[in-house]
Amino acid sequence: MIKLVGVEKTLGGQPVLQGIDLSIPVGKLTTIIGRSGEGKSVLLKHMIGLMQPDRGEVWVGDVEISRLSGTPLNDVRKQFAMLFQGAALFDSLSVFENVAFPLREKLRMKGPEVGRRVEEKLEEVGLAGMGHKFPAELSGGMRKRAGLARALVMEPEIILFDEPTTGLDPLMAKSIHDLIVTMHRRFGFTAVMVSHEIPEIFAISDWVAMLRKGKIALMATAAEFQRTTDPEIHEFISVGGTVALPGSLVGVRRSTKDGKSQVGDGGRRVRVRRHVVPRVSVDQARETRVDRRRASTKSRRSSTAPRGSNRVRRSKSPASKSAGSEGLRSLRIVRR
């Protein structure tokens, strides 16, 4: 639905986009990652025509928008909604009026239907009863939710998210991610998100694209992306010595010399950064390298295990006592 072909853009004499070729899959959640200053937000703004490329084409469906303006561009924008980094709520309007704004100004809707749709959206994003408040009275997370409600109220086909969790604490960021995923699954819109939240984005995204030096370095499904052998990309997504793993990390299977193995409490064996992500198919095998330098000193216990590879392989196991986990997965670290 959205396709960029050879897009180039220079800002302030600095080349930002240097030949972007990118196709956004319809109905999927695609996340664009990259280092700060690479031009991720610039790329996002090209998709909705807030910026025009110096060269190249931007296609939305079968309409090329890079040279459009005025009414023809506005006609294309009717398919879009956007959640900005700061939510971009109108300061002089209450939350209710902000969410009602596109209904009244674009659709010229009046009467109780406006109130019904606004209240419905506020409830979906967890802001029921907050319609009377003004943006200055809201927390960062609440502003993002109000911005999301405003984006959803027109039931768009495409929603762009520009760093939706920037500036939020981890719990609030997770709740925003969960909300985006829930809304995406419910309404099935095409979502394009710019985010720095690694490794969380691998859990919520269908596709991930990385912007590097003005070009798309890699675009793949979330699982394939994590298996990349490109050292720069791998380093980028492995910041802190951790790699996102689909599934729930509940513990470590320790192998003994007699061939038996048991699932140990992860806290007693090797510690890796925990995160809970949606479950994936049991049939899918995943192998991911875990940097042992980041493991706690207690990982020395694992040295008594038979030598094997340093690969981590997910396997079925009964749930362990790992706190906060709902999965039925455990990880086996076999040393080589």
Binding site: I48, R77, K78
Partner: protein
């Protein structure tokens, strides 16, 4: 209506205050100058013509620039910095139509009304000083106004006030719309808007005066 209230109604107090003291000082200065020629009776016409032709439109517009113009620039500038204008674009709503047009209309309608208030208050302020304090004949004061002021003076003042209202609104909205994305940028934009509007008002006053006379 909201913009008319912001530009017009909420500027009334400062316009009345300015007008009152302007009329009073004009009467004070004018009395002593006219007394040299034994023409104190013409004080009313001197105050009224000065107010209606020049001081009313120019000073009222300058007061509106300082109070409402700077606020317009700041409001639109903050909307630019916090991406609210981009949000309007993404909703397929023309920001110029939604934000700027109402302010232009309010400027064109509101400033002439304020100028009218300015003229009336200024003339009465002059009367307060000239008649009550300096002893000019009340009849002479008002009769000289009636005989000196013509319709061309009045609509000349209206034409100037409409032009100045347009200048203030347009310049201040433009500066806010193209604010640089920083606090310093916003501060500069606000200052530049007020200074540029003021200069253009004075230049425009000269141009219109030379055309009307």
């Amino acid at each position: 209506m909201k913009q008319l209230h912001f530009i017009g109604y909420r500027s009334t107090f400062v316009v009345v205050l300015t007008a009152g003291f302007t009329g009073m000082v004009l009467a004070l200065q004018g009395y002593y100058s006219l007394r040299k020629f034994g023409s104190e009776g013409l004080l009313g016409s001197a105050v009224a013509l000065s107010m209606i032709r020049e001081l009313g439109p120019v000073l009222a517009a300058l007061m509106v620039t300082a109070r409402a113009g700077s606020a317009m620039t700041a409001e639109i500038g903050i909307m630019r910095i916090t991406e609210q204008i981009d949000a309007l674009d993404t909703m397929a709503i023309n920001p110029l139509q939604y934000l700027v047009a109402p302010k232009l209309v309010a400027g064109v309608l509101g400033v002439p009304l304020l100028v009218a208030i300015f003229d009336v208050v200024g003339i009465y302020g002059g009367s307060l000083v000239g008649v009550d304090l300096l002893g000019v004949s009340e009849g002479a004061y008002w009769n000289s106004i009636e005989s000196a002021v013509e319709w061309k003076d009045v609509y000349g003042g209206i034409l100037k006030s409409i032009s100045f209202g347009l200048i203030v609104s347009w310049v201040c909205c433009y500066k806010g719309f193209y604010t640089r994305q920083s606090a310093e940028g916003l501060g500069s934009a606000t200052t530049e808007a007020v200074v540029l509007s003021s200069v253009l008002i004075l230049v425009g006053d000269y141009v219109l005066t030379s055309v009307l006379l």
